[in-house]
């Protein structure tokens, strides 16, 4: 089981689906950012799995995964700063109360 590419790909697909549900379903903005982190982790798992099982991709996959991790860190920094800035104005972390555009 651990020697087949399919099991890793299905595992990462399930992780991505869980992240999708969290992003679409949760009300808290920080929960949505955590779900995005889960989805990025699923993508990274796919990249590393292909690198481990397909010989010509071996080293390239690791480099791409390192870059994805760095970009995810940048995304988390900016996303959380935006949530903090909105929280200071609206006094709530819940995204369905950010409705000033519809009033």
């Amino acid at each position: 089981m651990s020697g087949s590419l399919d099991s890793y790909l299905i595992l990462s697909g399930l992780l991505f689906a869980i992240g999708t549900f969290g992003f679409l379903g949760r009300r808290n903005a920080i929960s949505m950012l955590m779900s995005i982190e889960l989805m990025l982790n699923a993508v990274n798992l796919t990249i590393i799995a292909f690198g481990a099982f397909v010989k010509p991709l071996n080293v390239h996959a690791s480099v791409i995964a390192l870059i994805v991790i760095a970009v995810a860190a940048a995304e988390a920094t900016v996303g959380l700063a935006i949530v903090m800035a909105i929280y200071r104005n609206k006094k709530t972390p819940l995204v369905d109360e950010y409705d000033s555009m519809s009033e």
């Binding site: 869980i18 798992l45 080293v59 690791s62 991790i69 700063a81 369905d96």
Partner: protein, 182 residues
């Protein structure tokens, strides 16, 4: 005495056992992240899912990515998320509704995505070697600083810009301003 390739007295390989245990930990803690009511516990479950994913990277023969996962995700991003959680919680937040009213649409979309990915994976013949190839860290270093040096520099510029932008966005307004900050 070294332990063998398989569990004692059975034909089950250690790799398979570790894969199943880590996969259950990963999916279980990810489900806790998206379903639990108390968001601080969601953050702690997120750390557990990052840790089990680092274990899976080791199973995939990539210790450098596993170490980076521990350093960056568990060490930096989780702490950032926990700080943000503790700075934005109101007292009544955990007792109120966790999901949007249309969360069932999101659930259907997630199940559809999982089914599509699983079907695609199972019906495609991948060019797989059938065994995990270990990745040498020195090979990654050579590749990163020769062929991928331009993306590497671009990422460093992006990280600097993100840190400066984060500080700028999260900073309080200067107290000299006359505007109403209610």
């Amino acid at each position: 005495m070294p332990i063998g390739q398989t569990l004692p007295f059975t034909a089950v390989r250690w790799d398979d056992v570790l894969f199943v245990v880590l996969a259950i930990m990963l999916l279980g803690s990810a489900l806790l992240v998206v379903t639990m009511r108390d968001i601080i516990r969601c953050g702690l479950a997120m750390i557990a899912s990052f840790a089990s994913l680092a274990g899976i990277y080791v199973l995939l023969g990539n210790p450098l990515i596993a170490a980076t996962q521990v350093l960056v995700y568990i060490g930096a991003i989780s702490i950032l998320v926990l700080f943000a959680i503790m700075l934005t919680q109101t007292k009544n937040a955990p007792t109120r509704l966790v999901f949007q009213t249309q969360a069932w649409v999101g659930a259907i979309a997630a199940v559809a995505i999982a089914a599509i990915i699983a079907g695609t994976v199972l019906t495609t013949t991948w060019p797989s070697t059938g065994a995990v190839a270990w990745t040498a860290t020195s090979d990654i270093a050579t590749m990163l600083f020769s062929q991928y040096v331009l993306p590497f520099e671009a990422v460093s510029v992006l990280l600097t810009a993100a840190v400066v932008g984060g500080v700028l966005l999260a900073r309080r307004e200067p107290p000299a301003g006359k505007e109403d900050r209610s």
